[in-house]
């Protein structure tokens, strides 16, 4: 037992001496903070499907960007923002719920991506998009994630009382003139920004987990929005770091999958404890 502890400690010390590990940890903490704060609103407003839509609908943007030889980040961002705008527009029409709007935009954008790939006869390897690669994040990636986290936190701080009000009692927000439809659009744009930044780390398939799992744990622990956000951030950063370390120790486990599993550990512990 003592031997295992010493090996783990040695691994931890050597991990902290690796540049790529420290960069990955920094990127994880930054994106974990923005994903967990936004995730709290996503869970509390029952919009879990939205993060799946955002991450999957970036496909046409990435394909077009790669084909045109420009940065995949900008292609993904434009596609995500178009999806956010489409969802906001469709759900504001009479007879369309937000849920159906998300379903329509997700399918349309994903199909568009596949159509672009077919039209260009260039079925390139997009596994990087699906699974991410946190261990190869560059300084440019970290700058993008840092900028995204700053924008997300600033916006959430500036409109936190309106968002809290509109999330809890939309009609009262409307009566006070706090424009809940505008706030929903702001939230969608922030989710689009954060989702695109996270895709580089854990991939399109697992980004949803970064938004949803820590915040679901936060909801179990927090008595108010601030506490929910606090616990969500702790679970995203703590669980993510644990996953990253596991992936470093056991080289066969992909980092993205290990991070998501790490984030799920506190959730299951609390669920079992409360059962």
């Amino acid at each position: 037992m003592l031997g295992i502890k010493i090996v783990m400690l040695n691994n931890l010390l050597s991990a902290f001496q690796e540049d790529f590990f420290l960069r990955a940890l920094l990127a994880l903490f930054l994106s974990g903070i923005s994903a967990a704060c936004l995730g709290s609103y996503i869970i509390l407003r029952r919009m879990s499907f939205i993060s799946t839509a955002m991450t999957h609908s970036i496909l046409p943007g990435v394909v077009l960007a790669v084909l045109l030889g420009v940065s995949a980040y900008w292609g993904a961002l434009i596609a995500a923002l178009l999806t956010a705008a489409g969802i906001a527009w469709i759900s504001s029409r009479k007879g369309s719920s937000e849920d159906s709007a998300i379903g329509v935009m997700l399918s349309v954008m994903f199909a568009l991506g596949i159509a672009f790939m077919g039209l260009s006869h260039s079925w390139r390897d997009f596994t990087g998009l699906l699974f991410g690669s946190i261990v190869s994040v560059s300084s440019e990636d970290i700058a993008i994630i840092l900028g995204t986290t700053f924008i997300v936190l600033l916006c959430l701080r500036l409109v936190h009382k309106e968002l809290e009000l509109a999330s809890f009692d939309e009609e009262y927000a409307q009566l006070l003139g706090a424009r809940p439809a505008l706030l929903r659009s702001v939230l969608l744009i922030l989710i689009a920004l954060a989702a695109v930044a996270c895709v580089r780390l854990v991939g399109a398939l697992l980004t949803t987990a970064l938004f949803i799992i820590p915040s679901t744990t936060g909801v179990l622990l927090g008595k108010n929005l601030k506490q929910v956000m606090f616990w969500s951030v702790i679970c995203a950063c703590g669980g993510g770091a644990l996953g990253l370390f596991i992936s470093y120790t056991f080289q066969g486990i992909p980092a993205g999958a290990a991070i998501v599993l790490g984030c799920a550990i506190p959730y299951f512990i609390i669920r079992i404890k409360n059962a």
């Binding site: 869970i43 509390l44 407003r45 029952r46 600033l154 701080r157 500036l158 409109v159 009382k161 309106e162 009000l165 999330s167 809890f168 009692d169 939309e170 009609e171 009262y172 409307q174 009566l175 006070l176 003139g177 706090a178 424009r179 909801v219 927090g222 008595k223 108010n224 929005l225 506490q227 929910v228």
Partner: protein, 261 residues
């Protein structure tokens, strides 16, 4: 250490608050030009563009501080009338004025309480925070709410909710929640209360507390309350009845005059 932390937190909070100037949700309004709280002339409302009118050609006036009951059978249009006055139904025909201006959203002087408030059942919120939300009416975009503790405490006391401040709103009974929402309207500083069947979920004790809040001579609200229980209407200054698309006054403000004499 805690002093340093709170100092740092205050500095960061001030930096954020100074980043953008507060923007009010709606333009400030002028004081009323006469002693009428509500004036309605020839009001016709269709809930949907081509649907039949819920009521048509309705006329009435409600003086300041008059407590008015709005009675009528289910589906007669009581809720639609209250929503129109609150500014939630913008498409109507006729002339409607509250404190001399047309109904619109963003008026802190007017509070509306729906029959079944659509509150997010997943959102963790304590009663104190719910009541504090009333202060948002006086704080625009980007503005932090400060110094509301006294107002909130007095509203909670008025509605006898002091012992429940830390309780989750989802663990309150229907009556306690209704009182919490009225406390929020009081903190908002609303002068006209538009209430849609507020007694529906109340037990005897809660009802007594709410009646005391609404009808106490020291409270200067103008109340318009929808109810279909004729017994409720006895304590009101004025009773309006909506039936088959028309509105008639059953009794005028005799009690109102007595109360304010």
């Amino acid at each position: 250490m805690p002093t340093h932390t709170s100092h740092l937190r205050r500095l960061i909070s001030e930096a954020f608050n100074n980043l953008l100037p507060a923007v009010p949700y709606a333009a400030p309004e002028n004081a009323s030009i006469n002693d009428l709280a509500v004036e309605v002339k020839n009001l016709t409302v269709h809930v949907r563009p081509k649907s039949p009118a819920v009521f048509s050609g309705v006329n009435f006036e409600i003086p300041l501080q008059c407590r008015t009951a709005l009675i009528g059978p289910n589906g007669s249009g009581k809720s639609t009338l209250l929503k129109t006055l609150a500014g939630l139904i913008p498409n109507y025909l006729g002339d409607v004025k509250l404190f001399g201006s047309k109904p619109r959203l963003g008026r802190s002087r007017i509070a509306y309480l729906a029959q079944s408030p659509q509150l997010n059942p997943d959102f963790p919120l304590q009663l104190k925070r719910l009541v504090e939300m009333g202060t948002y009416a006086h704080h625009g975009w980007f503005e932090e709410c400060h110094h509301a503790d006294e107002k909130v405490a007095s509203a909670l006391k008025l509605l006898e909710l002091e012992d429940l401040v830390d309780r989750s709103v989802h663990n309150l009974s229907g009556g306690q929640l209704q009182r919490g929402l009225l406390a929020r309207a009081a903190v908002q500083g609303a002068e006209i209360l538009l209430l849609d069947e507020p007694f529906a979920a109340l037990d005897t004790k809660s009802r007594e507390i709410v009646e005391n809040f609404l009808f106490h001579k020291n409270n200067s609200f103008t109340v318009i309350m929808a109810t279909h229980d004729a017994a409720d209407s006895k304590q009101f200054d004025r009773v309006l009845e909506i039936r088959e698309g028309n509105l008639k006054t059953i009794h005028a403000c005799a009690g109102h005059k007595n109360r304010h004499a």
